[in-house]
């Protein structure tokens, strides 16, 4: 039993302390709570960078594990830790939330509650990515819901109440199935344990003992829950509503981080606990991924609301993660995990621009916009770069992850018909790239180019704070695009570890 370092625990507690400090300190000063939130989320980000620096990228398994007894009657512990899968997500979360604080600079209406909720949500999301106990994982998963409900429902657009209620009911219904699956995993298998490390190491003895039909049922229950969060077509309908109604910063967090919880859950639990099932069903993953990519892209083409276009592009891009899970080789899985990270940064960028435009014009309807580059040259230049990143232009991180996924899935090692079906799905999914180029360039043209309407003459260009948030993300996109090994080196050991459990892969 290694000793607790409490570094991860510190990272988890920081946002919570921030929320508490916001709740306790009362100030009339202008933007006091903005600065307070920036301080705490910044501190969290710095700590997560320290975590990154001290992480040993050559070791496999979990690091920085903190374990404390919680409910000894059920062997429930408070246990957190990171591996190559969760480390990028922790960095991404703390970065995106830090940026979201600055993105929400224009929010002055009940800003105190807003930032408190944002920080509580950060703890929830970080907890989801680091929890190594199913009970803790579920608690953290649900902890993120309530702040999100408030954030959409209080600061959202016209139909915010509908959107927030839909969001919370959808997610709660999905997590009900996860709860059931966790209960069954704990109570029906022996030894009764919630310890993710133990379960991952001994999945072939503990979970395989449940019998095939029950295993399949649990697999599907977990998959449904994570598929809602991902979101996977046809369980995605909450996402466009939530995105459109949410304030900019929340859209940034929602697309940047929250969707990754679904993908993370699939890799950690579906793949980690039931590798046989996952391997057996990989054709399904490829086909569902392909449908996600094409359906999302086609719907994005048909939207008239700027935010909806990007929301559906999210659906499309998360499909790549599903596709990557079907590969069963390190290339594809590394690509999928990298895609989670890059999609987080790139979509956050795009949503920031939607916010920039909306803040100035108070509309997101494409027919009202156009020609904004005349008044906002810097914004439009940066948007073009972000759009290219989203399309997957070489030199940027989106290209790397999508390329890895395509090569990985095309070279899948499955035998017989599944091999070809996945290859065909890959080829069809590649069409999604073309569609993606279509809707992104079309969006760019309709918003920033063409004739400028009379009423937009007074618009100002992107301001310093907005530029700074964009710059941070954009640098990250370029750095990872040019030298992806920077992150893949961290991811790869976890990938190898996961794949070693696949049937016919040794290990």
């Amino acid at each position: 039993m290694q000793s607790n370092s409490f570094l991860l625990t510190l990272i988890l507690v920081m946002p919570l302390l921030g929320a508490l400090s916001i709740g306790l300190i009362k100030s009339e000063k202008d933007r006091f709570y903005h600065w307070l939130a920036a301080f705490w989320s910044g501190l969290t980000f710095v700590l997560s960078l320290i975590l990154l620096g001290r992480y040993d990228m050559n070791a496999t398994g979990f690091q920085f594990v903190d374990a404390l007894p919680w409910i000894p009657q059920f062997n429930i512990q408070y246990q957190v830790g990171v591996d190559g899968l969760s480390l990028p997500m922790v960095i991404l979360t703390s970065l995106i939330v830090f940026i979201a604080v600055f993105v929400s600079w224009p929010i002055t209406h009940r800003s105190r509650l807003f930032f408190a909720m944002l920080l509580i949500m950060e703890t929830g999301v970080l907890g989801v990515f680091t929890a190594l106990d199913l009970f803790l994982f579920f608690a953290m998963w649900e902890l993120e819901l309530i702040p999100m409900y408030f954030l959409i429902g209080l600061w959202g657009g016209a139909r915010r109440q509908y959107a927030s209620m839909k969001f919370i009911l959808y997610t709660m219904l999905a997590s009900a199935f996860m709860f059931l699956a966790f209960l069954a995993i704990y109570f029906l298998s022996t030894p009764h344990t919630f310890d993710v490390i133990v379960l991952l190491q001994n999945q072939d003895t503990i979970l395989a003992g449940l019998g095939k039909p029950l295993q399949m049922a649990l697999f599907i229950a977990l998959f449904c829950c994570f598929a809602v969060k991902l979101p996977m077509v046809p369980l995605h309908t909450w996402l466009p509503d939530a995105h459109v109604e949410a304030p900019t910063a929340i859209s940034v967090v929602l697309a940047g981080v929250l969707l990754k919880m679904g993908a993370y859950g699939m890799i950690r639990f579906n793949m980690g606990f039931f590798p046989d099932m996952m391997h057996y069903l990989s054709v399904g993953f490829a086909v569902l991924g392909m449908i996600n990519i094409l359906y999302g892209a086609l719907l994005a083409l048909a939207q008239t609301d700027m935010k909806r276009v990007i929301a559906y592009s999210s659906v499309s891009h998360m499909g790549f993660v599903l596709l990557g899970l079907a590969a069963w080789n390190p290339t594809g899985l590394n690509g999928a995990i990298l895609q989670m990270f890059t999609h987080g940064t790139i979509t956050a960028l795009l949503f920031i621009f939607v916010g920039v435009v909306y803040e100035r014009t108070h509309t997101r309807q494409l027919e009202d916009l156009g020609g904004l580059s005349a008044r906002m040259p810097l914004a439009s230049a940066l948007f073009v770069v972000s759009a290219l990143a989203s399309v997957g232009a070489p030199g940027m991180s989106g290209f790397v992850s999508e390329f890895l996924i395509f090569t990985g899935t095309y070279a899948n090692t499955l035998a017989g018909t599944p091999h070809f079906v996945i290859q065909i799905a890959t080829i069809l999914a590649a069409v999604g790239i073309i569609l993606g180029a279509g809707y992104m360039l079309w969006l760019t043209r309709r918003v920033f180019f063409g004739p400028l309407a009379e009423r937009w003459q007074h618009l100002t260009d992107i301001n310093a704070i907005e530029t700074a948030t964009v710059a941070i993300l954009m640098i990250l996109v370029f750095v990872l695009g040019i030298y992806p090994a920077l992150l893949v080196d961290y991811i790869n050991p976890a990938t190898v570890q996961l794949l070693s459990q696949a049937p016919g892969m040794g290990g």
Binding site: I71, P72, Q73, L145, M165, A176, F179, F187, L188
Partner: protein, 515 residues
């Protein structure tokens, strides 16, 4: 006779009498509002002393040396529930002071009756003999009937009381009839003796190898098929369980709850929802344990499963349609009876019994905190808004940030969302049922899906409080300190029990035989 074990009860009884005496000595010319504070203080001091005595006895590891001819069992279980009920009584007292001062003309009677009802509830949790159990139940019920009618200025209050009384009388009759059958069958009034009699001679009450028959009369004579219980024992089981189900408001014995909850003064509603339910469940746990014998268990369990599923589903679905918050809480309370009945189901299996007990004990304690926390806030809000209709509460969460926060937390805990103890409680109970095997997973699924349904109407309250705009009008009035105190205790309870649930588990592991 060892009366040391009864000191808490004696103190509660003395408190009730003292309150009445004080009320007599006070100058009746003074307005009721002035008397309220003093009387509430006396009641609070008395109940606190009782709670202190109870904890003191336990810390000394003292469980009493006598079981009063098998009538009153001062075991770990009754210790736990008597403590919980005293906490419930104290919280009710705290949240009611301001309300009583404003609206109740006879504060002495109100506080004395709260003490007496608590006394009945405490006896009920420790009763292991049929007459004691019945008398304790009646003490609780009769005090409650009067409490419901305390708002003499409002006809609805009286109407609710009459409804409660009639339903209560009928259920008491059913319960008594069931008990009389049991007495006739077994010749004993002690739960433990009835249990062992049924365990030994239960086979005599099962139809064995009767020929297949035609017609209803033959069916009743010989049983529908062999292996069925004979009618007298079957009727006794169903009647006893049904009579107790009235107290916990389980479907189909719930009809009184919505009208009574709505018509009663809101602190009384709070009291009924917590004390009455917890005491009823404690009695049900013991009675169910009495039927936990080879031949009677199946029918009792199936009956409880049916009630559980009906209560959860009916309660949650009908709650969606409610506009009055008190009425909504009545249906929420029915739904919670359903969740808790799932815990009773899991008592039937030896390997899940311990988990089920932990779940029931834990959830009932948490239920006191979350329900009374919510009611403390609602008492103030309904006094301020002069209405308990949800749409009149629009934006009140902004006007009273702390109270709104506590109410939101309690509602989320009732839904079963972390980081509140309601989640842990549901986890225990659902986990116990899961542990019974894959054949019961459907029941867990029903429970979990019902929690999702409940989120809809609980979230609607949160939405109204925080998303709505406050209406113009009177300036916000700060809540009474006692009420704020109750809300702080409730919040600390639901959060503290989530973070540190361990000691409840340690305590429950001491619970041995329940009879």
């Amino acid at each position: 006779m060892d009366f040391i074990a009864l000191i808490p009860e004696i103190l509660v009884c003395v408190t009730a009498l003292l309150v009445i005496a004080f009320d007599l000595l006070m100058d009746p010319a003074k307005p009721a509002a002035e008397r309220t504070g003093k009387l509430a203080f006396v009641t609070g001091a008395g109940l606190t002393a009782a709670l202190g005595a109870l904890i003191g006895l336990h810390l000394g590891g003292y469980y009493g040396t006598s079981d009063f001819y098998n009538a009153f069992l001062p075991d770990a279980m009754s210790l736990y529930f008597r403590g919980a009920l005293l906490v419930s009584g104290l919280l009710t007292l705290c949240l009611s002071v301001d309300y009583v001062r404003r609206f109740i003309k006879y504060p002495g009677e109100f506080f004395a009756l709260i003490s007496l009802a608590t006394l009945g509830a405490m006896f009920l949790t420790a009763a292991t003999e049929i007459t004691t159990l019945y008398l304790a139940l009646e003490l609780l019920s009769l005090s409650s009937f009067v409490l419901v009618a305390m708002r003499k200025d409002r006809p609805r209050s009286a109407e609710a009381s009459i409804k409660y009384l009639i339903f209560g009388a009928v259920s008491s009759g059913i319960l008594l009839y069931g008990f009389s059958l049991l007495f006739g069958i077994t010749g004993s009034l002690s739960l433990a003796e009835i249990h062992s009699y049924l365990q030994q001679n239960g086979a005599d009450f099962v139809y064995m190898n009767q020929p297949a028959t035609q017609g209803l009369s033959n069916a009743i004579d010989y049983g529908w098929q062999s292996g069925h219980l004979k009618l007298e024992l079957l009727a006794a089981i169903l009647m006893v369980l049904g009579g107790l189900a009235y107290k916990i408001a389980a479907v189909p014995f719930h009809m009184w709850a919505p009208d009574v909850y709505e018509g009663a003064p809101i602190p009384v509603t709070a009291f009924l929802s917590a004390t009455s339910k917890v005491a009823g469940f404690a009695a049900l746990i013991r009675v169910f344990e009495m039927f936990n014998t080879t031949n009677t268990l199946v029918i009792a369990t199936n009956f409880v499963i049916i009630m559980a599923v009906l209560s959860m589903t009916f309660g949650n679905i009908v709650a969606i349609a409610q506009k009055n918050v008190k009425r909504m809480f009545a249906y929420s309370s029915i739904a919670h009876a359903g969740y808790l009945l799932m815990g009773i189901v899991a008592l039937s299996d030896l390997k899940t019994r311990e988990t089920a007990l932990l779940g029931l004990f834990f959830y009932l304690l948490v239920y006191i905190f979350m329900n009374l926390g919510a009611f403390a806030v609602m008492t103030h809000l309904s006094t301020q808004a002069r209405s308990s209709d949800l749409h009149d509460w629009s934006g009140l969460g902004r006007r009273y940030p702390w109270l709104g926060f506590v109410l939101a937390c309690c509602l989320l805990s009732l839904t079963g969302l972390p980081p509140f103890a309601g989640f842990t409680g549901k986890f225990y109970i659902f986990g116990a049922v899961t542990m019974m095997g894959t054949g019961y997973l459907w029941l867990v699924l029903v429970g979990v899906l019902n929690s999702v349904i409940s989120l809809y109407y609980y979230a609607r309250v949160v939405r109204t409080l925080f998303f709505g705009e406050p209406s113009e009008g009177h300036a916000p009035e700060a809540p009474h300190p006692a009420l704020t105190f109750a809300s702080v205790v409730a919040f600390a309870g639901i959060l503290g029990l989530f973070l540190f649930p361990r000691w409840i588990g340690d305590f429950v592991s001491q619970v041995g035989t329940l009879l």
